[in-house]
Symmetry: C2
């Protein structure tokens, strides 16, 4: 096991090459070895530590305070954001689902989800179970009780379940609005899109799902090619905050004025909407937005 070069570390940790070199200059960590060509070689334990650091950064900590902290300190740092609300009264607890996921119990998880779906109906199921569960799993990862692969596992199982549920809905083929659903490059979280699709389809909108990570010019082409009324984007909290607004402005400039741009997801909290962009911080807002769209003049 020779170690990782700088691009491998970028891929593993999500920390860019520039930042890795900058931290080395500024803070003295990481301190990779060098190979025969003078290129950086990161040993596995430094990569692991960089992963921990990245997790804390995503929780709102700052590099200057944590890059040089000892491993024990890293483990003890609490999340720097408001603690998740305790189970809202009247809403079903998510704990059983989290336990089933942690136990890797696929049939049990699917059974419990199915149970909740038929009891609550698809709309309430999405709003009261899937959306909070997604947040809870993210929190569990941040606090270290879920591994990354367990989050992937959750996303995969839940995608399958949601897609199947959406598949049982009647098709709104000819109805309006027509909504192209996707995510921008770098954003690979699919679940937000599927939740939005379920909500929109229940409101009798026609969705054209395009999966994740569409280049902006392709979103433009897709909107034209599918004669969309609306482009719906989902942005998770993992998306780099600094890039959200420039990206939205760029996309807005590419789209024709007649096409609305709606953006949802945890990545847009506390943001001011650029002109011509509608922010939908909560899934519930999507329901209202469709109603308003139908009442628009013209």
């Amino acid at each position: 096991m020779t170690g990782f070069n700088i691009s491998a570390v970028e891929r593993e940790t999500g920390i860019s090459r520039d930042v890795l070199r900058m931290w080395e200059r500024r803070y003295g960590f990481p301190v990779p070895g060098r190979d025969a060509n003078g290129e950086r070689v990161y040993p596995i334990d430094q990569v692991e530590r960089l992963r921990s650091i990245k997790r804390l950064l995503d929780q709102g900590h700052r590099p200057g305070k944590i890059v040089l902290a000892a491993p024990e300190e890293l483990a003890s740092l609490a999340p720097r954001r408001p603690a998740p609300l305790a189970a809202a009264p009247g809403r079903p607890s998510l704990q059983p689902l989290l336990d089933l996921l942690k136990a890797h119990d696929v049939p049990g998880y699917q059974r419990e989800m199915q149970h909740r779906l038929v009891r609550e109906g698809l709309q309430r199921f999405v709003l009261d179970t899937v959306a909070p569960l997604t947040v809870a799993v993210g929190d569990a990862w941040e606090s270290g009780s879920f591994e990354v692969f367990e989050e992937h596992f959750f996303a995969e199982q839940t995608s399958r379940f949601l897609r199947q549920a959406i598949g049982t809905l009647p098709e709104n083929r000819a109805s309006r609005p027509r909504i192209v659903l996707t995510t921008p490059p770098e954003e690979q979280h699919m679940l937000g899109l599927l939740m939005a699709e379920a909500i929109f389809e229940l409101e009798q909108a026609h969705c054209i799902p395009l999966g994740v990570q569409m280049p902006l010019v392709e979103i433009q082409r897709a909107a034209l090619g599918h004669q969309a009324d609306i482009v719906g984007l989902s942005i998770s909290s993992a998306f780099p905050t600094r890039q959200v607004l420039p990206m939205l402005e760029q996309l807005r400039a590419l789209l024709p004025e007649s096409v609305a741009l709606w953006v949802g997801g945890a990545g847009i909290e506390r943001l001011a909407a650029p002109a011509g962009v509608r922010l939908l911080p909560l899934l519930e807002d999507a329901i209202a937005a469709v109603g308003e769209w139908r009442l628009r003049p013209g």
Copy 2:
């Protein structure tokens, strides 16, 4: 519309910042403007041209020959790889499916796929329809008759169809081998994974699908956490060839010896397998590999 900065161009085109600067130095294209801070600003038409160039590069052309070519020349360049085989005798034609996709006819596409599935059975359907169709769509994109968003659309619709088909299979919960299925970072193509999952499940292996883009250390953790016998990786032709072997060696070094590493997809053609890695260039090879695994000593 001010233009794109260098990272936006990297995201849009998939051409790295280093390469963009290098081309500018070496070939004199692209020639972005500069903003008030002296930073590059790429106008939209240069971004479009870079997209065309990237497509030709992926077809095997070389930068020195095409970066400076005039737009008309770019359009006229033929794919530099063996032309796709004409429809194999005895196999159903793919043209009707391609036409339905091009027409954005979702119900028609799903109906035709369903028809083929029940006629051929899942295994033959995957081998004779889905796999060649994926190649055909890729070729259609390379030749310019499909847009990127249409390829995304195809992938999304076909994923849904395949997942649903897999969902109807009986569960192989307790059976062996246990196969963790995923793709490495940068590799976002899901379809290869789903085809493999269908094939493996039909062979009564137990699959643990983790979706795409798992960091290597997370693949290691997942293999341990799920007590996998095999890690199955799918690598498409879009994955940078130079990075395949180093990545496989790195992952192989991370995994315990008792866990096999199987790799499939168009991205491994003409590659020599590193020690301890089994290459499955064709889906059919996956069937044989499961049989051999069951006969292994011990």
